[in-house]
Amino acid sequence: MVGAAAGGAAADVSGPRYDEPPVIEVRDLSIAYGGRPALRGVNLDVHRHEIFGIIGPANSGKTSFLRALNRMETFNASMEVRGSVSINGMNIRDWRNEYALRSRIGVVFPLPVGLPLTVYENVAFSPRLRGIRKKAELDEVVERCLTRAALWDEVKDRLDSLGSLLSGGQQQRLTIARALSQEPELLLLDEFSIAVDPVTTMRIEDVLRELRSELTIVMATNLVQQARRLADRTAFFLMGELVEIGVTEDLFEREAKDERTTGYIEGRFG
């Protein structure tokens, strides 16, 4: 699978580095909540500078998968994770400081969560955690991240108003700016466009395309066409199982190996 994709994309400088060892290696990952399985035996690799799409209907395990990459089971006593996830070749469960791990992974939720802080403080939150205190330095980070999230022009005059008072689309871009302020190596997006208007969705998609040259993106989406527009490769999850992974174009050009993938993509169920 990986080999097949590598051929075409390696020439693209900003594209996925299929020639390097993968950034994320997932081996036999199973997740359950209080004994109820949510994901079973997933194996996959994600490469540097790749946008990796995950499609699948509700309850297919997409969100659980993303949560496991971030070791969120720490905060949820009922979440059980088995198997291994390695990032940069190191099993994330061997990390002694899991907070440092999470600080390098940006996450964007389905519903934007503007912290009850000002726009400025929302974006400065993570830099402050890292110990950046100087106002000038923070100013620079805030402006850079808001600009990259295509939000700066809209909020530059009201950085001191509450982040939770922005519109839904603006809040979602604010959470992207916040994720970027972590200077992440990895960006996880979970159905980011669910509460966002189509125009904003397009703007965010443009932002993601640009970001690909700097980081690696794993994007779970409920919109198959969004995966087609953005993802280099796409995985199809169904009822807690990874059905198949393929180069996105292949999957959408009726070359999926599994009946169910084609069925889902063509909207026969979902």
Binding site: R96, L129, L215
Partner: protein, 310 residues
Amino acid sequence: MTPPADSAAAATPGAMDRRDAAWYADRIAQALIFVGGVSAIVFIAGIFVFVTREGLDFALGPLGLREFFTSIAWRPTSNTPTYGALALIAGTASVTGFAMLLSVPLSLGAALFIAEFARGKTRETLKILVEMLAAIPSVVWGFVGMSIMNPLIIRVFDVPVGLTVLNAGLILGLMAAPIMTTIAEDALKAVPDTYREAAEALGATRWEVVVKVVIPASRNGLLAAVLLGVGRGFGETMAVLMASGHAINLPTSPFDSVRALTATIAAELGDAPVGSDHYGSLFTLGILLFVVTFLINLAADVVVRGIGRK
């Protein structure tokens, strides 16, 4: 593995995996918060241990349990001291019982009115007044019993003494009402609106909905409310001390003066030399009070848990 040099974000795992100040701060905070978390257990256990420590030697030694529970002679300072607590138990029981006669119907009625019938401003105002009722200190209630209720009872019923079961019971009833009202109201509010809507869709009036749907569905919560009210009345000290007449007596009518367990401790502890039998006997009363209120609270908790399971 070594990450590619072009990626500034990719530091080596080893360097990032350091446990930093934030990590240690989190651990310390967690430990302190845990200590705070179990403090309630420590204190309730501490209360039991310290009250028992001071009272147990006496309770198991000089005190005859038979005398304690069957004699009405509480004469700890006499030359031949006797420690019969029956009159004190009867005093507490009569006052609490009388209080409940008044308080249970009124509180449940008030809870029904506030939860099911009152709306908007009326509801808010009534809730605030109930809260104010709860806020009045027990010593003020006791003072009200002595200075307002006492002459009133003497005049209205033409009796020689107004500091009686009636007086203390009325006051205790009002004191126990807020907790019963509040908890009963919570229990009624916990009944899902869909139940009410379903019954109303079948043509039932609000009253029929309340009787046939809401009350049965919140039965356990209402019972817990009553239990906690009983606990409150049982343990009240200052108001009972001041309003009940504080006379050792097996009451036969609401116009008898009585003496409560709690009031006995409050009145006598100051005069009992530390370590004496008298002192031990008062702590023995404390053990009894602790155990009974503990059981009442436990029962209320078990009853409420019954709701949770449904």
